[in-house]
Symmetry: C2
Subunit: 314 residues, 2 copies
């Protein structure tokens, strides 16, 4: 049975003791650049620096006592790993994370800081899956998929639920799309609160498998990882593909320069450090043009490797 | 007559319709690094991206109608110029700003965007003063000094007033010191609310004229501008020197690498873009060590030239 609005509402209650109710940011200068009245839901200020903690917490807190004792496991290119490690620690259970070698050090450090075990793998879907199967076989842990999981999707949707509760009269809600968990949860939440809102996805042109999938009507595989938006590399799952087909009006694809322009201007105008994956949704607002509409953007995270940027100042 | 706590309270009422009541940021990870429970007063989210709008607004809104008609003038290395331009526009009066040629483009653009006139000068105190005298002679505008002005000092103090109202039980309040306007206002406000709070200044070691002045008992001139904290280049004025001698327990000087370390970690842990001048106060907390005390930090601004930092991503 697919995720319902009631599931998102239940998730919001379940995770409330653990997650931040994040603020919404606005900027007249940003609005002028975007050509829309824009409300940035600041999930970069969520625990762990990304919306992922919502879904991970909903999944971990939904486990039975028996399941919880065995712990949780996942593969992740970054933010989900940190979120799951943190959610597991909040419940006092083990977390086993499979991460590609290529993942940035800042994201690995966040996972280790929360007491999780990391198993490295190659940066391919096949290697991730095989390594995770090994880990689950050895530990008996419950797999918590980063997005192909109803409780993760429902948890992710609570960000949009909060946004719509703060700013009810939105015309458009937009979120970045990688595996589609955030956009699925966002769509279910947004249409639950406001059935006539237009739900849009933002996707890097260099990782436009979701746009291709919706256009062709079948799930297309992820492309080789070349975009700076390294949280959006994964392909849709049947579960998220179904939600997106039902709820999403459009996927807007954006070029790398458009992503970086949006990221820099959000930093400049709002003083908020959002990561490239979050900037994809902002760039999509600019590219698509919403003609003065009221647009809610899920600013999905703020985990940026600042070392190379600060190196130029040192 | 020196600025009093009543002046700060009156300024808070006068400027309330125009300024943001900025949020306070906390971070467990930052506290661990700093060895203190730290509360960052987020003046980077003030209008114009810096606390300067408070003092400029208090000065502009205090003008008589006759004075206001003539407009306002100032020399400034950046944030005061933008703040004065914006404050003047809010009252619908002209602003004339003298800026050194070396000022970063982002700060010049902010001034021009608010309709002010810019007159360029060399980056020396003598050139600034002479150019400003010319501008005032030509226009009849009222000079609003960036810090050697009681209303500017009282306005600057409203940030600390808000901080102490939000977090009353602070042991220490710390602000960066350049010309001493912010630190003077901060000290008067903090001691007005809480007479036993310890007021500390943070200053770049490469621009340690305030520390030298307090140590020697006479105002020392500004040194050649070499610090990254480009908002803190100016020397104390007799007015601020007197306040600092009375109220400030200590000036902590920090090296450039310490400033950049603090700046990067604030960005990483809080996702807030603060400028180097603000990071000076954070770096001073780390360097001095406050042994678990509750420390309020005036994060004075967030106007960073992001172009070179983003260039490495492009």
């Amino acid at each position: 049975m697919p995720v319902t609005f009631a599931d998102v509402e239940a998730a919001a209650v379940r995770i409330a003791p653990y997650v931040h109710h994040t603020p919404v940011f606005t900027s007249a200068a940003l609005d002028e650049w975007l050509g829309a009245t824009t409300f940035l839901k600041g999930e970069h200020l969520q625990r762990g620096g990304a919306f992922k903690y919502r879904g991970a917490t909903n999944a971990v807190q939904s486990l039975t006592e028996e399941e919880a004792r065995r712990g949780v496991a996942a593969h992740s290119s970054g933010n989900h790993a940190g979120a799951l490690a943190r959610a597991a620690r909040a419940r006092g259970i083990p977390a086993y994370v499979v991460m590609p070698d290529s993942v940035r050090a800042v994201k690995k450090a966040a996972v280790l800081a929360y007491g999780a075990s990391i198993t490295s793998c190659e940066n391919t879907p096949a290697s991730r899956e095989a390594t995770l199967r090994d880990v689950v076989a050895k530990t008996g842990a419950v797999e918590i998929h980063p997005y192909d999981n109803d409780r993760v999707i429902a948890g992710a949707g609570t960000a949009a639920l909060e946004l719509l509760q703060s700013v009810p009269d939105l015309d458009v809600v937009i979120a970045p799309v990688g595996g589609g968990g955030l956009l699925s949860g966002t769509a279910i939440a947004a249409h639950g609160v406001r059935p006539d809102v237009t739900v849009v996805g933002g996707e890097p042109a260099l990782a436009d498998d979701a746009a291709q999938s919706l256009g062709l009507g079948t799930i297309q595989p992820a492309r080789p990882p070349t975009t700076s938006a390294d949280g959006l590399l994964t392909a849709l799952a049947p579960r998220t593909f179904a939600v997106l087909r039902e709820h999403v009006a459009e996927i807007v694809t954006v070029e790398e320069t458009e992503i970086l322009d949006a990221m820099q201007l959000v930093w400049q105008f709002t003083k908020q450090v959002i990561e490239a994956s979050a900037a994809v949704a902002v760039a999509a607002v600019r590219k698509r043009g919403f003609d003065g509409a009221r647009v809610g953007v899920i600013a999905s995270g703020g985990n940026v490797d600042l070392d190379p940027m600060f190196a130029v100042l040192r």
